[in-house]
Amino acid sequence: MRRGPDTFWNPYLAGIALGLVLLATYLVMGHGLGASAASYRLGVAALETVAPAHVHGVPALAALVRDRPPLDNWLVFEVLGVVVGGALGAWTSGRLGGEVARGPTFGAGRRLALAVSGGVLMGFAARLARGCTSGQALSGGALLSVGSWAFMLSVFAGGYAAAYFVRRQWR
């Protein structure tokens, strides 16, 4: 068997494994997987620490913190697991290590600026679409939800439309 940091699972076998994890989640939790909801709740928790009055003044944020602390949520715990699982996968394959992923001629500072900007867009978009690639496209897509498929096709369309303008970060 091939090993090393540049060796990955066969994409189709990885896809089957992914599908089985998702299926188990449907069976046990009655819900699919997710990711962006945890980032949102972490953001709200951070904001509540520094500006509690502000959080209670914004309707959507106030609703989120009303009954329970924002981090007391199953998706937050699931994403905690993603951190552990991701670190395990990287560690056991020799991929664990600090770096800024970018092309050889692209500066780290500019790359980080693009990463933050893309993140801001995705955080906003995932809230608007009621889920991200995990919680909407993958989890809703496998349930054949019309909205999830419309979302998924739109993600690919948006990515292909913008790809040309940010290609230099990988050169």
Binding site: W74, G86, L128, L144, V146
Partner: protein, 230 residues
């Protein structure tokens, strides 16, 4: 057919156990994503340049697997599929616009929200930057939501599945999804090979046997080991 740990009614002692189970599912999810190569922005972004279609292959295989599994288990009376589908109502327009914007964010950051967590866990600082941006963007949405008016609830179609919408039996739609995925995989392989053969920029092509120069300059001895057959 009830769910052992339904996420919406976890309470008391059961809740703690349910949250522990959620961590386990997350570990499986994160591990698979990492091993598929989704902790690497370059590999993910490759989808949008045609040089590496791993995202398409993993995602559609995952969808097809979970879809077929859900249909089979539902048919066998082991899964209340309708109850899970209830969690995924369609709001067409915010989902289309959200998808377009998220797609732009994906190619700009090189990650999606889930894979940025995996990248962060494997030490990628750009992954962490993406997670931070996602937090800011998601909170900003809540701040700006009143200004969006009725748009976030527009195109409300309720719980609508492709079989209902097309007026076809679910197994027929599932077979069509599998057939479309298979065609997409064939096309993806062709595009990858075409671009690799063209090899304009060695750094743009997926590493293959012909990229000896790139591989050996990038990872030295490890590449030699990882390429040895068997």
């Amino acid at each position: 057919m009830s769910f052992p740990f339904p996420f919406w009614s976890l309470g008391g002692e059961h809740r703690t156990l349910g949250l522990a189970v959620a961590v386990l599912f997350g570990i499986g999810f994160g591990f698979v994503l990492e091993r598929a190569g989704f902790g690497r922005a370059r590999k993910l972004a490759g989808q949008f340049y045609g040089r590496d279609m791993t995202v398409l292959k993993v995602m559609f295989t995952g969808i097809a697997t979970a879809m077929l599994g859900a249909l089979i288990l539902s048919g066998a009376g082991l899964l209340d599929l309708a109850a899970v589908q209830l969690r995924y109502p369609t709001y067409l327009w915010p989902m289309v616009v959200g998808g377009l914007v998220l797609g732009v964010g994906f190619v700009v950051s090189g990650y999606c929200p889930g894979t940025s967590v995996v990248a962060t866990a494997s030490g990628k600082l750009d992954g962490l930057a993406t997670v931070a941006g996602t937090m800011v963007g998601a909170v900003a949405y809540s701040e700006l939501e009143p200004a969006l008016g009725a748009f976030p609830d527009s195109g409300k179609l309720g719980v609508l599945t492709l079989p209902q919408w097309l007026g076809l039996p679910a197994p027929v739609v599932a077979a069509a999804v599998v057939a479309v995925a298979a065609c997409a995989f064939l096309a993806a392989g062709r595009i990858e090979r075409l671009l690799a053969a063209r090899g304009q920029d060695p750094a743009d092509a997926p590493p293959g046997p012909q990229d000896r120069r790139y591989r050996s300059s990038q990872s030295g001895g490890v590449a030699a080991v990882s390429r040895s057959p068997g």
